[in-house]
Amino acid sequence: MYIIVVGGGRVGYYLTKELLEAGHELVVLEKNTRRANQISDELGSIVLNRDGCEGKYLAEAGANRAKIVAAVTGDDEDNLVVCQMAKHHFEVPRTIARVNNPKNEQLFRHLGVDEVISPTRMALAAIEQDIPVHELLHLAQLSGGEIELLEAQIGADSPALGRRPSDIPLPEGCSLFVLIRGDTVQPMRGETVFQAGDKVLAISRTECAVDLHRELIGDGQAVGSSSLAG
Protein backbone atom coordinates (compact mmCIF):
# COMPACT_ATOMS: atom_id res chain seq x y z
CA MET A 1 0.00 0.00 0.00
CA TYR A 2 1.41 3.39 -0.98
CA ILE A 3 1.47 5.92 1.86
CA ILE A 4 2.60 9.54 1.98
CA VAL A 5 3.76 10.91 5.32
CA VAL A 6 3.99 14.69 5.57
CA GLY A 7 6.24 15.96 8.34
CA GLY A 8 9.47 14.31 9.41
CA GLY A 9 9.50 15.32 13.05
CA ARG A 10 9.51 12.75 15.81
CA VAL A 11 6.02 11.50 15.05
CA GLY A 12 6.70 11.34 11.31
CA TYR A 13 10.04 9.62 11.85
CA TYR A 14 8.76 6.82 14.06
CA LEU A 15 5.61 6.42 11.99
CA THR A 16 7.74 6.03 8.87
CA LYS A 17 10.07 3.59 10.57
CA GLU A 18 7.20 1.38 11.72
CA LEU A 19 5.47 1.47 8.35
CA LEU A 20 8.68 0.56 6.52
CA GLU A 21 9.21 -2.35 8.88
CA ALA A 22 5.68 -3.48 8.07
CA GLY A 23 6.67 -3.53 4.42
CA HIS A 24 4.74 -0.55 3.08
CA GLU A 25 5.84 1.60 0.19
CA LEU A 26 6.06 5.18 1.29
CA VAL A 27 7.56 8.61 0.90
CA VAL A 28 8.11 11.30 3.54
CA LEU A 29 7.78 14.99 2.71
CA GLU A 30 9.90 17.16 5.00
CA LYS A 31 10.58 20.79 4.13
CA ASN A 32 13.51 21.26 6.50
CA THR A 33 16.64 20.20 4.61
CA ARG A 34 18.69 19.17 7.63
CA ARG A 35 15.88 17.10 9.03
CA ALA A 36 15.22 15.54 5.60
CA ASN A 37 18.89 14.56 5.31
CA GLN A 38 18.89 13.04 8.79
CA ILE A 39 15.94 10.85 7.95
CA SER A 40 17.33 9.67 4.64
CA ASP A 41 20.66 8.88 6.35
CA GLU A 42 18.83 6.63 8.76
CA LEU A 43 15.94 5.21 6.77
CA GLY A 44 17.14 5.38 3.16
CA SER A 45 16.11 7.44 0.17
CA ILE A 46 12.44 7.72 0.96
CA VAL A 47 12.51 11.44 1.73
CA LEU A 48 11.45 14.30 -0.49
CA ASN A 49 12.84 17.58 0.81
CA ARG A 50 9.68 19.55 -0.06
CA ASP A 51 6.79 21.35 1.56
CA GLY A 52 3.87 18.92 1.51
CA CYS A 53 1.38 21.79 1.70
CA GLU A 54 2.17 22.68 -1.90
CA GLY A 55 0.01 20.89 -4.42
CA LYS A 56 2.79 20.40 -6.93
CA TYR A 57 4.99 18.59 -4.41
CA LEU A 58 2.16 16.33 -3.36
CA ALA A 59 1.77 15.56 -7.06
CA GLU A 60 5.52 14.94 -7.35
CA ALA A 61 5.24 12.53 -4.43
CA GLY A 62 2.57 10.58 -6.28
CA ALA A 63 -0.45 11.67 -4.28
CA ASN A 64 -2.81 10.57 -7.03
CA ARG A 65 -1.92 6.92 -6.41
CA ALA A 66 -1.54 7.12 -2.61
CA LYS A 67 -4.03 5.16 -0.52
CA ILE A 68 -3.23 7.11 2.63
CA VAL A 69 -1.85 10.56 3.36
CA ALA A 70 -0.83 11.12 6.97
CA ALA A 71 -0.12 14.75 7.92
CA VAL A 72 1.82 14.72 11.17
CA THR A 73 3.72 18.02 11.26
CA GLY A 74 3.66 20.03 14.46
CA ASP A 75 1.32 22.65 13.00
CA ASP A 76 -2.41 22.04 12.87
CA GLU A 77 -2.94 24.43 9.98
CA ASP A 78 -0.36 22.65 7.83
CA ASN A 79 -1.87 19.25 8.59
CA LEU A 80 -5.31 20.52 7.65
CA VAL A 81 -4.15 21.94 4.32
CA VAL A 82 -2.22 18.78 3.43
CA CYS A 83 -5.29 16.64 4.07
CA GLN A 84 -7.68 18.93 2.24
CA MET A 85 -5.41 19.14 -0.79
CA ALA A 86 -4.92 15.36 -0.73
CA LYS A 87 -8.62 14.70 -0.39
CA HIS A 88 -10.04 17.17 -2.84
CA HIS A 89 -7.24 17.62 -5.34
CA PHE A 90 -5.86 14.08 -5.50
CA GLU A 91 -8.84 12.07 -4.26
CA VAL A 92 -6.77 10.20 -1.71
CA PRO A 93 -9.15 7.68 -0.08
CA ARG A 94 -7.88 8.09 3.46
CA THR A 95 -6.40 11.18 5.07
CA ILE A 96 -5.07 11.36 8.61
CA ALA A 97 -4.24 14.55 10.50
CA ARG A 98 -2.49 15.11 13.78
CA VAL A 99 -3.95 18.01 15.77
CA ASN A 100 -2.46 19.73 18.78
CA ASN A 101 -5.43 21.89 19.68
CA PRO A 102 -8.17 19.38 20.56
CA LYS A 103 -10.76 21.99 19.64
CA ASN A 104 -9.70 21.57 16.01
CA GLU A 105 -10.77 17.93 15.93
CA GLN A 106 -14.36 18.60 15.08
CA LEU A 107 -13.61 21.22 12.42
CA PHE A 108 -11.09 18.96 10.70
CA ARG A 109 -13.57 16.09 10.56
CA HIS A 110 -16.25 18.42 9.28
CA LEU A 111 -13.87 19.58 6.55
CA GLY A 112 -13.39 16.02 5.34
CA VAL A 113 -10.29 14.72 7.13
CA ASP A 114 -10.98 11.01 7.65
CA GLU A 115 -9.03 10.43 10.82
CA VAL A 116 -8.08 13.10 13.34
CA ILE A 117 -5.54 12.16 15.98
CA SER A 118 -5.18 14.41 18.99
CA PRO A 119 -2.35 13.52 21.40
CA THR A 120 -3.56 16.32 23.66
CA ARG A 121 -7.00 14.73 23.86
CA MET A 122 -5.49 11.32 24.59
CA ALA A 123 -3.34 12.66 27.40
CA LEU A 124 -6.31 14.56 28.73
CA ALA A 125 -8.48 11.46 28.71
CA ALA A 126 -5.79 9.50 30.53
CA ILE A 127 -5.45 12.20 33.16
CA GLU A 128 -9.18 12.63 33.64
CA GLN A 129 -9.47 8.96 34.49
CA ASP A 130 -7.26 9.56 37.50
CA ILE A 131 -8.40 12.93 38.73
CA PRO A 132 -11.85 13.95 39.89
CA VAL A 133 -13.01 16.27 37.17
CA HIS A 134 -15.99 17.72 38.96
CA GLU A 135 -15.20 20.99 40.56
CA LEU A 136 -17.09 23.82 42.06
CA LEU A 137 -17.33 26.60 39.50
CA HIS A 138 -17.26 30.12 40.86
CA LEU A 139 -19.61 31.90 38.48
CA ALA A 140 -19.88 35.35 40.00
CA GLN A 141 -19.18 37.38 43.10
CA LEU A 142 -22.00 39.35 44.66
CA SER A 143 -22.22 41.93 47.44
CA GLY A 144 -18.61 43.01 47.13
CA GLY A 145 -17.27 39.48 47.17
CA GLU A 146 -18.91 38.21 50.34
CA ILE A 147 -21.46 36.14 48.49
CA GLU A 148 -20.83 33.92 45.51
CA LEU A 149 -22.85 32.32 42.76
CA LEU A 150 -21.56 28.76 42.29
CA GLU A 151 -22.22 25.76 40.12
CA ALA A 152 -21.61 22.20 41.29
CA GLN A 153 -21.81 19.14 39.10
CA ILE A 154 -23.04 16.00 40.79
CA GLY A 155 -20.62 13.24 39.84
CA ALA A 156 -20.96 9.48 40.15
CA ASP A 157 -19.08 9.65 43.46
CA SER A 158 -20.96 12.61 44.94
CA PRO A 159 -22.22 12.21 48.50
CA ALA A 160 -25.43 13.98 47.38
CA LEU A 161 -26.31 11.21 44.93
CA GLY A 162 -29.83 9.87 45.53
CA ARG A 163 -30.56 12.44 48.24
CA ARG A 164 -33.02 15.33 48.43
CA PRO A 165 -31.97 18.94 49.01
CA SER A 166 -33.32 18.83 52.58
CA ASP A 167 -31.14 15.77 53.33
CA ILE A 168 -27.99 17.70 52.67
CA PRO A 169 -26.49 19.36 55.72
CA LEU A 170 -25.57 22.85 54.64
CA PRO A 171 -24.80 25.85 56.85
CA GLU A 172 -27.05 28.91 57.09
CA GLY A 173 -25.25 30.97 54.47
CA CYS A 174 -25.82 28.47 51.69
CA SER A 175 -28.79 27.98 49.41
CA LEU A 176 -29.38 25.63 46.47
CA PHE A 177 -31.84 27.20 44.09
CA VAL A 178 -31.69 25.86 40.54
CA LEU A 179 -31.25 22.37 39.10
CA ILE A 180 -29.98 21.86 35.56
CA ARG A 181 -30.72 18.35 34.36
CA GLY A 182 -29.92 17.62 30.72
CA ASP A 183 -31.50 20.45 28.79
CA THR A 184 -34.01 21.39 31.47
CA VAL A 185 -33.71 24.11 34.05
CA GLN A 186 -35.92 23.78 37.11
CA PRO A 187 -36.23 25.43 40.49
CA MET A 188 -34.95 23.31 43.37
CA ARG A 189 -37.94 21.40 44.77
CA GLY A 190 -38.36 19.49 48.00
CA GLU A 191 -38.92 16.24 46.11
CA THR A 192 -35.89 16.60 43.81
CA VAL A 193 -33.54 13.61 44.04
CA PHE A 194 -30.02 14.30 42.84
CA GLN A 195 -28.68 12.22 39.96
CA ALA A 196 -25.23 11.95 38.44
CA GLY A 197 -24.77 14.65 35.81
CA ASP A 198 -27.06 17.15 37.53
CA LYS A 199 -25.77 20.67 37.84
CA VAL A 200 -26.77 22.67 40.86
CA LEU A 201 -26.66 26.43 41.10
CA ALA A 202 -26.05 27.72 44.60
CA ILE A 203 -25.74 31.03 46.35
CA SER A 204 -23.31 30.88 49.19
CA ARG A 205 -21.38 33.04 51.59
CA THR A 206 -17.78 32.78 50.46
CA GLU A 207 -16.67 30.96 53.60
CA CYS A 208 -19.36 28.28 53.12
CA ALA A 209 -18.11 27.23 49.66
CA VAL A 210 -15.99 24.56 51.28
CA ASP A 211 -19.12 23.00 52.85
CA LEU A 212 -20.86 23.04 49.50
CA HIS A 213 -17.89 21.34 47.91
CA ARG A 214 -17.84 18.61 50.56
CA GLU A 215 -21.58 17.89 50.40
CA LEU A 216 -22.18 18.12 46.65
CA ILE A 217 -18.90 17.09 45.09
CA GLY A 218 -17.18 15.20 47.86
CA ASP A 219 -13.78 15.76 49.38
CA GLY A 220 -12.09 13.85 46.58
CA GLN A 221 -10.07 11.71 48.97
CA ALA A 222 -11.45 8.40 47.82
CA VAL A 223 -10.63 8.96 44.18
CA GLY A 224 -7.82 11.47 44.31
CA SER A 225 -5.28 10.30 46.84
CA SER A 226 -5.01 6.67 45.85
CA SER A 227 -4.62 7.15 42.12
CA LEU A 228 -2.38 10.18 42.30
CA ALA A 229 -0.05 8.42 44.67
CA GLY A 230 0.49 5.63 42.16
Partner: protein, 168 residues
Amino acid sequence: MRVIIVGCGRVGAGLAERFARSGHGVTIIDTNSEAFARLEPDFPGQAVRADGTDEDVLRRVGTQGADLFFALTEGDNRNILAAQLATETFGVQHAVAKVNDPVRAEAYTSLGLATICRTRMLIDALARHGGLPADPGADGVHTPSGRHDAALAGATSAAPARATGREG
Protein backbone atom coordinates in the same frame (compact mmCIF):
# COMPACT_ATOMS: atom_id res chain seq x y z
CA MET B 1 -20.79 46.39 10.21
CA ARG B 2 -18.60 44.26 12.42
CA VAL B 3 -15.27 43.38 10.89
CA ILE B 4 -12.70 40.92 12.22
CA ILE B 5 -9.16 40.91 10.91
CA VAL B 6 -6.59 38.25 11.79
CA GLY B 7 -3.00 39.42 11.29
CA CYS B 8 -1.80 42.95 11.92
CA GLY B 9 0.81 43.21 9.19
CA ARG B 10 0.88 46.09 6.74
CA VAL B 11 -2.21 44.88 4.94
CA GLY B 12 -4.15 43.94 8.07
CA ALA B 13 -3.34 47.19 9.86
CA GLY B 14 -4.11 49.32 6.81
CA LEU B 15 -7.40 47.57 6.21
CA ALA B 16 -8.35 47.85 9.89
CA GLU B 17 -7.75 51.60 9.73
CA ARG B 18 -9.86 51.95 6.58
CA PHE B 19 -12.86 50.12 8.01
CA ALA B 20 -12.60 51.74 11.43
CA ARG B 21 -12.34 55.24 9.93
CA SER B 22 -15.45 54.50 7.87
CA GLY B 23 -17.35 53.97 11.09
CA HIS B 24 -17.32 50.18 11.25
CA GLY B 25 -16.62 48.12 14.35
CA VAL B 26 -13.21 46.55 13.84
CA THR B 27 -11.39 43.92 15.90
CA ILE B 28 -7.85 43.10 14.82
CA ILE B 29 -5.99 40.09 16.22
CA ASP B 30 -2.29 39.30 16.19
CA THR B 31 -0.12 36.95 18.24
CA ASN B 32 2.55 39.62 18.52
CA SER B 33 1.56 42.79 20.35
CA GLU B 34 4.41 44.70 18.68
CA ALA B 35 2.51 44.34 15.43
CA PHE B 36 -0.09 46.77 16.78
CA ALA B 37 2.50 49.55 16.49
CA ARG B 38 1.45 49.62 12.83
CA LEU B 39 -1.92 51.02 13.91
CA GLU B 40 -2.34 54.74 14.44
CA PRO B 41 -2.23 55.72 18.13
CA ASP B 42 -5.87 56.81 17.95
CA PHE B 43 -7.06 53.66 16.14
CA PRO B 44 -10.78 53.56 16.95
CA GLY B 45 -11.13 49.76 16.86
CA GLN B 46 -10.09 46.94 19.17
CA ALA B 47 -6.69 45.27 19.07
CA VAL B 48 -6.46 41.82 20.69
CA ARG B 49 -3.22 39.93 21.26
CA ALA B 50 -4.17 36.29 20.67
CA ASP B 51 -3.97 33.44 18.18
CA GLY B 52 -6.60 33.98 15.50
CA THR B 53 -6.50 30.32 14.46
CA ASP B 54 -7.78 29.26 17.88
CA GLU B 55 -11.51 28.59 18.05
CA ASP B 56 -11.77 29.86 21.64
CA VAL B 57 -10.12 33.14 20.68
CA LEU B 58 -12.42 33.65 17.72
CA ARG B 59 -15.42 32.96 19.92
CA ARG B 60 -14.21 35.45 22.51
CA VAL B 61 -13.83 38.28 19.98
CA GLY B 62 -17.34 37.67 18.69
CA THR B 63 -16.72 36.02 15.34
CA GLN B 64 -20.23 34.67 15.42
CA GLY B 65 -22.34 37.35 13.84
CA ALA B 66 -19.43 39.24 12.26
CA ASP B 67 -20.21 40.65 8.82
CA LEU B 68 -16.71 40.39 7.43
CA PHE B 69 -13.71 38.28 8.36
CA PHE B 70 -10.25 38.71 6.85
CA ALA B 71 -7.42 36.25 7.49
CA LEU B 72 -4.27 38.17 6.60
CA THR B 73 -1.35 36.65 8.51
CA GLU B 74 1.93 35.80 6.81
CA GLY B 75 1.04 32.10 6.70
CA ASP B 76 -1.22 30.81 3.93
CA ASN B 77 -2.23 27.79 5.96
CA ARG B 78 -2.98 29.79 9.07
CA ASN B 79 -5.22 32.02 6.96
CA ILE B 80 -6.94 29.01 5.46
CA LEU B 81 -7.57 27.55 8.92
CA ALA B 82 -8.80 30.83 10.42
CA ALA B 83 -11.14 31.56 7.50
CA GLN B 84 -12.61 28.06 7.57
CA LEU B 85 -13.18 28.35 11.31
CA ALA B 86 -15.03 31.59 10.63
CA THR B 87 -17.24 30.14 7.91
CA GLU B 88 -17.77 26.59 9.17
CA THR B 89 -17.76 26.95 12.94
CA PHE B 90 -19.10 30.48 13.33
CA GLY B 91 -21.23 30.81 10.21
CA VAL B 92 -19.61 33.99 8.88
CA GLN B 93 -20.91 34.65 5.37
CA HIS B 94 -18.04 36.71 4.06
CA ALA B 95 -14.62 35.43 5.02
CA VAL B 96 -11.55 36.02 2.89
CA ALA B 97 -8.21 34.24 3.26
CA LYS B 98 -5.01 35.71 1.88
CA VAL B 99 -3.32 32.79 0.13
CA ASN B 100 -0.11 33.79 -1.61
CA ASP B 101 0.54 30.41 -3.21
CA PRO B 102 -1.50 30.63 -6.45
CA VAL B 103 -2.09 26.87 -6.64
CA ARG B 104 -3.44 26.71 -3.11
CA ALA B 105 -5.50 29.87 -3.64
CA GLU B 106 -7.24 28.36 -6.63
CA ALA B 107 -7.72 25.01 -4.94
CA TYR B 108 -9.42 26.63 -1.96
CA THR B 109 -11.60 28.89 -4.05
CA SER B 110 -12.90 25.79 -5.78
CA LEU B 111 -13.47 24.26 -2.34
CA GLY B 112 -15.72 27.17 -1.41
CA LEU B 113 -13.41 29.65 0.27
CA ALA B 114 -12.94 33.25 -0.88
CA THR B 115 -9.25 33.96 -1.39
CA ILE B 116 -6.97 36.77 -2.45
CA CYS B 117 -3.59 35.97 -3.97
CA ARG B 118 -1.00 38.71 -3.70
CA THR B 119 1.49 36.81 -5.86
CA ARG B 120 -0.81 36.62 -8.83
CA MET B 121 -1.96 40.23 -8.42
CA LEU B 122 1.61 41.54 -8.30
CA ILE B 123 2.74 39.49 -11.26
CA ASP B 124 -0.21 40.74 -13.26
CA ALA B 125 0.29 44.38 -12.29
CA LEU B 126 3.98 44.28 -13.15
CA ALA B 127 3.41 42.38 -16.38
CA ARG B 128 0.81 44.93 -17.44
CA HIS B 129 3.20 47.72 -16.53
CA GLY B 130 5.65 46.10 -18.92
CA GLY B 131 3.07 46.09 -21.69
CA LEU B 132 1.87 42.49 -21.47
CA PRO B 133 -1.84 41.67 -21.67
CA ALA B 134 -3.74 41.35 -18.38
CA ASP B 135 -4.35 38.03 -16.66
CA PRO B 136 -8.15 38.12 -16.44
CA GLY B 137 -8.25 36.05 -13.24
CA ALA B 138 -5.56 37.88 -11.34
CA ASP B 139 -7.38 40.77 -9.75
CA GLY B 140 -9.25 41.13 -6.47
CA VAL B 141 -10.89 38.62 -4.22
CA HIS B 142 -11.88 35.31 -5.78
CA THR B 143 -15.09 33.91 -4.42
CA PRO B 144 -16.42 30.43 -5.12
CA SER B 145 -19.33 31.92 -7.07
CA GLY B 146 -17.11 34.03 -9.30
CA ARG B 147 -15.03 37.14 -8.95
CA HIS B 148 -16.31 39.89 -6.67
CA ASP B 149 -14.56 43.01 -5.61
CA ALA B 150 -17.39 44.14 -3.39
CA ALA B 151 -19.20 41.22 -1.85
CA LEU B 152 -20.96 43.60 0.49
CA ALA B 153 -21.35 46.58 -1.82
CA GLY B 154 -24.84 47.23 -0.51
CA ALA B 155 -23.87 47.04 3.12
CA THR B 156 -20.77 49.22 3.15
CA SER B 157 -21.20 52.95 3.29
CA ALA B 158 -18.04 53.51 1.30
CA ALA B 159 -18.42 51.05 -1.55
CA PRO B 160 -17.00 52.89 -4.58
CA ALA B 161 -13.56 51.35 -4.15
CA ARG B 162 -14.52 49.35 -7.25
CA ALA B 163 -14.27 52.45 -9.40
CA THR B 164 -10.50 52.60 -8.99
CA GLY B 165 -10.22 49.03 -10.25
CA ARG B 166 -9.21 48.05 -13.71
CA GLU B 167 -11.80 49.51 -16.03
CA GLY B 168 -9.16 51.61 -17.80
